[in-house]
Symmetry: C2
Subunit: 335 residues, 2 copies
């Protein structure tokens, strides 16, 4: 029964020395006798001594844990991002607390509260799609808990954040379609609360303009990312007097929904209407008719960078003013 784990006190008692000596020996403190040091370390070894992280955390007011809040682990984009975060955190001896907001601002708020109460050293967050009020996030400032946003970042852009260049991604995607001869390209953009929605539209508009094409507002649909919303938008697009011949979707999931709806309307995918989307998820490889192309947003890398940024601050290697938002380049993956 290892019930009672050995403490430095225990070691001290057995060796008839003081706890502080033991503490120093264990930390390779300079001012300590070699003999005592060896003795202590030997006994510590034998007893399988392990420092009580809880006590250390308590003492240092720091518990080597970061919190991650994201919309949905079920979405591969985020599960890949988590891997990046986890790898970086683990390498720096931090552990990762995870919470899903399920795209609800209310849950997001609760998670932030919970993590704050648990005194995490910092938080990495990707916003819920409807988060339009940042109060619950700004609170963290007061408590000196650093917050790094990734992918779904707030408007304004002043904050610590890692994201990908959605604007140029959209531009790449639309240009690709234009080069394939498409003239009527629709855009399924996301909700206004996501900055990435406007960015998609910017890239879209700019690419069209460069090709000297007129913007048709009927071809731009704001969707809420739900399957129903996507289906409704698609119905509207198909009802247009002049149907689009290509659709740029907010992300792969939206694209899957859209493709499904289109198929039900007897549209031949990537023939009658071509689909292009964002995210480039692994599951695209399993589809027999994937989108023509998908904008790679490097979720794993984003996760890594966000975690590194956060830990740089937590560990005081950098201050907030040293840091500029990171915007990753996207790449168009053609299937």
């Amino acid at each position: 029964m290892d019930q009672k784990l050995p403490t430095i006190k225990e070691i001290a008692k057995r060796l008839n020395i003081s706890v502080s000596t033991v503490s120093r020996a264990l930390h390779n403190h300079p001012r300590i006798g070699l003999r005592t040091k060896m003795q202590v370390q030997k006994l510590a070894e034998e007893l399988h001594y392990e420092p009580n992280t809880l006590a250390i955390s308590f003492k240092q007011k720091k518990w080597f844990t970061i919190g991650v809040i994201l919309p949905e682990l079920n979405e591969q984009f985020f599960s890949q991002a988590i891997s990046g975060i986890e790898d970086v955190a683990t390498a720096q001896n931090y552990t990762v607390l995870i919470g899903q907001s399920h795209d609800s601002m209310e849950r997001e708020r609760m998670l932030v509260e919970a993590f704050r109460k648990h005194r995490v050293d910092g938080i990495v967050l990707s916003m819920a799609k409807n988060t339009d009020d940042y109060q619950h996030l700004e609170v963290l400032d007061k408590y000196n808990i650093p917050l790094v946003y990734f992918d779904r970042i707030p408007k304004g852009g002043q904050a610590l954040s890692v994201s990908s260049n959605i604007r140029s991604g959209a531009e790449q995607a639309v240009r690709y379609l234009l080069e394939k001869g498409h003239k009527r390209i629709a855009l399924l953009k996301g909700p206004d609360s996501l900055i990435a929605s406007a960015q998609r539209q910017e890239g879209y508009t700019s690419a069209l303009k460069q090709h000297g094409l007129q913007l048709d507002p009927d071809l731009i649909k704001e969707i809420d990312l739900s399957p129903e919303g996507t289906r409704a938008a698609l119905t509207q697009l198909l009802a247009l007097p002049q149907r689009p011949t290509a659709i740029l979707c907010f992300n792969d999931y939206v694209c899957f929904d859209a493709i499904q709806a289109a198929r039900q309307a007897k549209i031949r995918i990537n023939k009658d209407i071509s689909f292009v989307s964002f995210a480039n998820l692994p599951i695209c490889n399993f589809l027999d008719v994937p989108p023509l192309a998908s904008v790679e947003q490097h979720p794993y890398r984003q996760g890594q960078l966000a975690a590194e940024m956060l830990l740089d601050i937590v560990e005081k290697r950098k201050t907030i003013t040293d840091i500029k938002p990171v915007i990753l380049d996207t790449e168009l993956r053609i299937f």
Copy 2:
């Protein structure tokens, strides 16, 4: 600057009472005057007092955190399970630490160590596919850290575990194929280290026997779950003098790989060869040619049950001897 968070000491000082009184007031302890209680609670409110979880954890040798170790968050089966675990844990005021083994026993061992050092109250684990040695897991016993297995459980079955009835799931699936008239049904079973591989084979064998069919060993392939392994197995099956007309795959991912390989060999999916698999993942809904059917293993429910089981022990509502392994019924989802 809320830099310094208020402590009960602070409250005590301001009110000129003792810390223990404050503590009691905050905990609605019976033996305390209503007036003082109100006073304390009012001031606590004003100062935005919040108990220091770290101090409480330290004091009580318990930090209200459970660790979850699973192979791969990217797999929807596991991300759904996590949701179940998270929901139960949150409801009971626990937080969740997550680690991915990426199906490596070595990483699994490291995560167990890390979690143990961080003094989690308990662990929920789904084994890496190659874990064939349980030493790193048995260690937890000595430290009195309860461990609940889910889905990928160890051989022997004595342990605390939640899993689904793979044997009967396989039987259902094979029976379904037999009723569709298939006579040559192949099985892509997983590695021997997973108990679920043998269980699949048992169900498979039993269903065939019930239909008075002979077992053809050539039709059973052990695969390592990698895309390459699956592809190789499929090649072998296609090279048989008498090809199978249906294949039961270890899980949906294996099934996707198999379908891809088959398609490259010009097999018409679900016509020349029918596919059936395990897991019933959400992404199946996006495939235009999904497997004919998939055995639903209720990952979310498994996660919930595993977390409940663990917390029952952690909170001492039950002892280990009270608990029997849970085996969930599967259902065949027909597409």
